[in-house]
């Protein structure tokens, strides 16, 4: 771990004033040890620093800024929570469990209980991928400004099966899978004010910019995450498959949010986690479900459609079948 300065920011405005880099920038452009980056729970940031792949000059801690750890639910307005809300806070919230079961499931299966107590939702959405080449100090990969993708030619059993052409790392947040399925939005605050983006537009695929995973600039901080209200017709489910049931990263996770009129599906949102460098919506599969009664045949069709266009790598072909199974099971559970 390199030496760094540390300051507790008293307010958003001051934090914005103090920061000068995103974490990706500090790893690619501003690598001279002077980068000033914000820190929330710190679980991912410390990991990067300990590995020696991030050497910031200053950490700006957001924990003391009042109001960022609030979670509120309103039947009309939906769910809203600040970036400093922890994964454990979501897991423990009765409202989340009752109204957003897919989000609850994702929270309950993320990381370890200890990490869930520490990791914040802002940090969770901003965290860097877990690709073992990216995380290794011995591999200067594209994501770190290099020219080689070691995963494409190397050990890629846990890598992506979609959007694999530039960097096949998978997005590390399994909570994002559920949040995107619920059509969540994120509020970014900068010196000029706030902007609100659907989460589906927040994440950046590697073929657009390989060095970062989202659109937040070095003058922006996540200040709110919002989910729309759920209807009486909303049905949702989330399944995560890790190699282990205990603490593990996802090999594949699926969130499905359906709007059901009786047996008939009015609307559907299907998102794959650990399938691509971003939480990946499968619109083509959603179209299969829309307007139909959910039965085994329809589900089968949706699963086939959802995996169309997959480009698995040398060692992760199994994921295609895995996702089909997970998707079928998730739809089945959601609809039942």
């Amino acid at each position: 771990m390199n030496r760094f300065e540390y300051i507790k920011a008293p307010s958003i405005a001051e934090a914005l004033d103090m920061m000068d880099s995103t974490v990706p920038e500090a790893m690619v452009q501003k690598t001279d040890g002077s980068a000033r980056v914000v820190k929330a729970g710190g679980t991912d940031l410390l990991d990067l620093i300990k590995e020696g792949i991030l050497e910031p000059g200053r950490l700006i801690d957001l924990k003391n800024i009042p109001g960022l750890d609030k979670l509120s639910f309103d039947k009309e307005k939906g769910l809203q929570f600040g970036p400093m809300v922890t994964i454990a806070d979501l897991e423990k919230s009765k409202e989340v469990k009752q109204h957003y079961p897919a989000l609850y499931q994702a929270a309950a299966h993320a990381a370890t209980p200890q990490i869930r107590n520490m990791a914040t939702m802002g940090g969770n959405l901003m965290q860097r991928p877990r690709c073992w080449y990216f995380r290794s100090n011995g591999h200067h990969c594209r994501k770190k400004g290099g020219t080689t993708c070691f995963a494409q030619i190397g050990q890629n059993q846990f890598h992506s099966i979609f959007l694999t052409n530039v960097c096949p790392c998978v997005h590390p947040s399994s909570l994002a899978t559920a949040l995107v399925a619920y059509d969540g939005k994120v509020e970014l605050t900068g010196p000029e004010g706030k902007r609100v983006l659907p989460l589906s537009e927040f994440f950046t695929p590697s073929n657009v910019d390989v060095t970062c995973e989202n659109v937040a600039t070095n003058q922006e901080i996540i200040t709110n995450i919002m989910l729309p209200p759920v209807q009486d017709s909303t049905r949702a489910h989330y399944i995560k498959q890790g190699q282990r049931e205990s603490y593990d990263w996802s090999m594949g996770d699926v969130a499905v949010v359906l709007q059901m009129d009786g047996k008939k599906c009015r609307d559907a949102r299907i998102v794959f986690g650990a399938a691509a460098p971003i939480p990946l919506r499968r619109e083509s599969a959603e179209e299969v479900l829309k307007g139909k009664s959910i039965n085994e045949k329809v589900i089968e069709q949706a699963a086939e459609k959802a995996l169309e266009g997959a480009t698995p790598l040398a060692y992760n072909g199994y994921k295609v079948h895995l996702f089909k199974t997970l998707l079928k099971r998730t739809i089945m559970e959601a609809a039942s």
Binding site: W132, G154, Q243, Y318, L322
Partner: protein, 814 residues
């Protein structure tokens, strides 16, 4: 494939270890000892033993402390955080060390410059590993070494990522870590090979290029690196202490009604000790003190004494608590030698603990294997021939054989094996909980199950037919009963999630280390202490020693102070090979018995009675004939003439002698395990639901701890069967999962319901008749799980670990 090497195998056994058979004693006596399994075939065995031996112990049922579920004597220090491990040692003025390690799997160091590191504020010593054949131990002497730069003739060739090159000692770990990065190195990279199959192909990069002249050993262990056909190959090994080939394998196959021939593969597993390898070394002019996380304090002392030219009396190694070793923590290690070197240079204590990545890369691993097993069977079930050829890589090291289960578990007149080591550019292997046997069982026990199916026999009943091991037969019976074993047709469950049942068994040679000594000291205040260099690596050695002495002196385990893990005390055995309980407990009991006799002799004088009239029990010393003569243990010790009574004893030979050499006891340790699994055929995921583990370890001294060790063996076996795998990047030679996040080990939700069936088995071998359990507990698990997976899905998997990828591929769905 097998090498039909028919020449006589002469094994390198030193002349003084060849003697076996009962030892002739100058003064002997005859004792009757329990023999067999209570409830089955318990009888008595008369043995002629030395006159010094204590009287025979009855079976556990008739004892007060031994065989009883006894709380670990040091548990309180573990649950409160008071236990000090090597990683916790802090000495005044202590420095922190850090290694520079190779970033390349194969390279020559063109030049190396340590001057910037040496100048870095807070750095107190730098040491470079130089290759100077015949040179002195101190290859970079003193603070003011003239050479700040080194050239390629002096420096080692690098053969794996993580190979140590140099190290620094500094005022803090941060400074040491930073300074190491300032060492300037110029590398010339070379082609490398990581894969077992590729390394043995013609044209593969050669790990050791020079021909080694076979310097005087039988041909089958020579390194023939320059031979293109055999590049990177060592071997084959065709024999072991259990003998060489037997019978005529070709004739055996000709006599068979059917022959099975299959290939099996196992992966590289890393030890993942929770406490990493490391030491704190404190070089003082009159004594070198080393706190070491080791399984063998005496071995570390001997290594350092030899290397630094010190008398053994001037090296003290201490291991009060240690956080797991599993076979990998033997010897002083590169860290131990380096820390000592740095401490000597800096004149201050140096702590050098590996970090988690270094632990994976350089602290050892279980080599992988590619086994070609061919067996002939007759329709009546008899095995007519076994032919096993194996290749395995321990990286730049050796020892990748697959053990001796195929040779020795089942009756078969015709056997041969050819076991090859393959060199690759990866970190060296190390002994790992039942070296070879775990790999071997995965192959052998699956083939036995295939034969049983072919014969239309229940796998348990089939083993009853071909396995002559008496105790294992009882284990199968009791285990099957506890499991509710019923043969189920493979793949017969409807629906995508299928249940399967399987079993496998293993065996382990009973090893005894005769270099096992201990002192028992009884103080005038009634306190009692045990002293030995033997260490408790988490198996519970401290507790069983306390129990043994408590039983002898009529006290309770908690009355005994156990001071072990310190080479100031008499030498104990290294804790590996499941030797510890069987080796050190008789020494401790014999010492306790001697001390007891000394104490009773002094009491007899004070009371004016015959020594033979006195005994101890329930905290009292009493006359066997005069009930008025009785006092508490504490009162009795007050009568002592001196402040303490002390006795030291060493492990005598096994009663009845040894089967082979000076330490291979009669009677193998058998183990049988049953597994129940669920296999999700749509995702490929396997869940182990239940394991019944039937084991024996001679006289179980503390069933509570035996159970814990069996649980541990089963859980480690689950990791090996389903999750663990060292994954190397084939383009850069790095281990991509050198952490505890991507190197997957079982955690709480992977733990099945485990039931232990413990068979008490008396062999009349020693004054405690105890044996170890560490290894036997780990051997059959992966085989049992593999058989259960087959039973669930009806398709057999021949390669570990049994990942979802492999299950789906075997089922033909992806």
């Amino acid at each position: 494939m097998a090498n039909p090497n028919k020449k006589k195998i002469v094994l390198p056994v030193a002349p003084d270890t060849e003697a076996h058979g009962p030892v002739k004693h100058l003064y002997s006596k005859k004792v009757k000892l329990p023999y067999g399994v209570p409830g089955h075939n318990l009888t008595e065995m008369e043995r002629e033993v030395s006159i010094d031996e204590p009287p025979a112990l009855p079976i556990n049922e008739k004892l007060n402390v031994l065989g009883k579920r006894t709380k670990r004597v040091d548990a309180i220090y573990k649950v409160t955080g008071a236990a000090k491990y090597t990683a916790d040692i802090q000495l005044p003025g202590m420095l922190f060390g850090k290694f520079l390690r190779s970033p390349h799997p194969h390279a020559i160091i063109k030049s190396l410059d340590v001057s910037a590191a040496r100048r870095y504020p807070g750095v107190r010593a730098v040491h470079v590993l130089l290759m100077e054949p015949g040179g002195s131990v101190e290859r970079d002497s003193g603070h003011d070494a003239p050479a700040e730069t080194y050239n390629m003739d002096q420096l080692p060739r690098l053969r794996y990522v993580g190979q140590p090159i140099a190290a620094v000692a500094a005022e803090s770990q941060y400074i040491a870590n930073e300074a190491v990065k300032l060492i300037k190195v110029e590398y010339e990279t070379k082609p490398f090979v990581l894969e077992l199959d590729k390394a043995r192909k013609k044209g593969a990069p050669i790990v050791f290029e020079e021909v080694i002249e076979d310097g005087g050993n039988e041909g089958d262990v020579g390194v023939k690196a320059a031979d293109e056909q055999k590049g990177n190959l060592r071997g084959p090994t065709t024999g072991s202490f259990l003998g060489g080939p037997r019978g005529d394998v070709e004739k055996g196959f000709a006599e068979a009604d059917f022959v099975l021939e299959k290939e099996y593969r196992t992966q590289v597993q890393t030890h993942c000790c929770l406490e990493t390898h490391g030491v704190v070394a404190d070089w003082q002019p009159d004594l070198l003190t080393v706190y070491a996380s080791t399984q063998n304090t005496a071995g570390v002392r001997d290594d350092l004494a030899e290397l630094f030219g010190l008398p053994k009396s001037k090296v003290r190694v201490i291991t009060e608590y240690m956080g797991g070793g599993f076979g990998s923590k033997f010897g002083a290690g590169h860290f131990g030698v380096m820390a000592t070197m740095l401490s000597k240079k800096a004149g201050r204590p140096v702590k050098l603990m590996l970090d988690r990545e270094e632990e994976h890369l350089s602290a050892g691993n279980r080599p992988n294997s590619h086994q070609m097993l061919k067996m002939g069977f007759r329709n009546d079930g008899k095995i007519t021939a076994i032919d096993l050829t194996s290749y395995g890589t321990a990286g730049v090291g050796l020892g990748a054989g697959v053990g001796r289960v195929a040779q020795d578990m089942y009756e078969c007149p015709n056997f041969r094996t050819a076991q090859y080591d393959v060199f690759t550019h990866a970190g060296p292997g190390a002994a790992f909980r039942a070296p070879g046997n775990v790999q071997g069982v995965f192959a052998l026990e699956q083939m036995i199950d295939e034969a049983a199916e072919r014969l239309g026999m229940d796998p348990v009943k089939y083993r009853d037919l071909i396995d002559k091991h008496e105790v294992r037969k009882i284990q199968r019976m009791k285990g099957a009963e506890a499991f509710g074993w019923k043969y189920k047709k493979p793949g017969s469950d409807p629906g995508p999630i299928k249940r399967g049942f399987g079993m496998a068994q293993g065996h382990w040679t009973r090893f005894i280390n005769l270099n096992s000594s201990a002192t028992v000291r009884i103080n005038k205040d009634g306190s009692v202490a045990i002293m030995s260099s033997v260490q408790d690596i988490g198996t519970g050695t401290k507790t069983i020693l306390a129990q043994v002495v408590a039983e002898e002196l009529g006290l309770m385990a908690e009355d005994i102070t156990v001071k072990i893990g310190d080479t100031l005390y008499p030498d104990g055995p290294g804790s590996g090979g499941s030797v510890t309980a069987g080796s050190i407990t008789p020494a401790v009991r014999n010492a306790a018995y001697k001390a007891k006799m000394e104490l009773l002799g002094q009491v007899a004088g004070a009371w004016d009675v015959e020594l033979s009239d006195l005994d101890m029990k329930n905290g009292e010393v009493f006359s066997k004939t005069d009930s008025s003569k009785k006092m508490s243990f504490g009162e009795a010790t007050k009568k002592m003439r001196t402040n303490q009574v002390m006795a030291t004893a060493s492990r005598p030979d096994d009663y009845g002698g040894f089967e082979i050499g000076n330490g291979i006891g009669y009677g193998r340790l058998g183990s049988v395990q049953f597994a129940e699994v669920l296999v999700d055929t749509e995702t490929g995921f396997i869940k182990v639901e239940r394991v019944v583990a039937a084991h024996s370890c001679g006289r179980p001294l503390n069933p509570l701890q035996v159970e814990s060790q069996i649980n541990g063996g089963v859980i480690m076996g689950i990791g090996y069967a389903l999750y663990e795998d060292r994954i190397l990047d084939l383009n850069t030679g790095y281990q991509v999962n050198a952490n505890l996040e991507q190197y997957k080990l079982p955690y709480s939700k992977e733990i099945p319901q485990i039931e232990t069936v413990l068979i008490e088995h008396y062999g009349a071998f020693s004054s405690t008749d105890a044996s170890g359990i560490g290894e036997p507990a780990n051997i059959p698990t992966a085989g049992a799980i593999a058989n259960a997976v087959y039973n669930a899905i009806g398709v057999r998997l021949y390669e570990l670990p049994l990942t979802p990828q492999k299950v789906l591929a075997a089922l033909g769905v992806s």
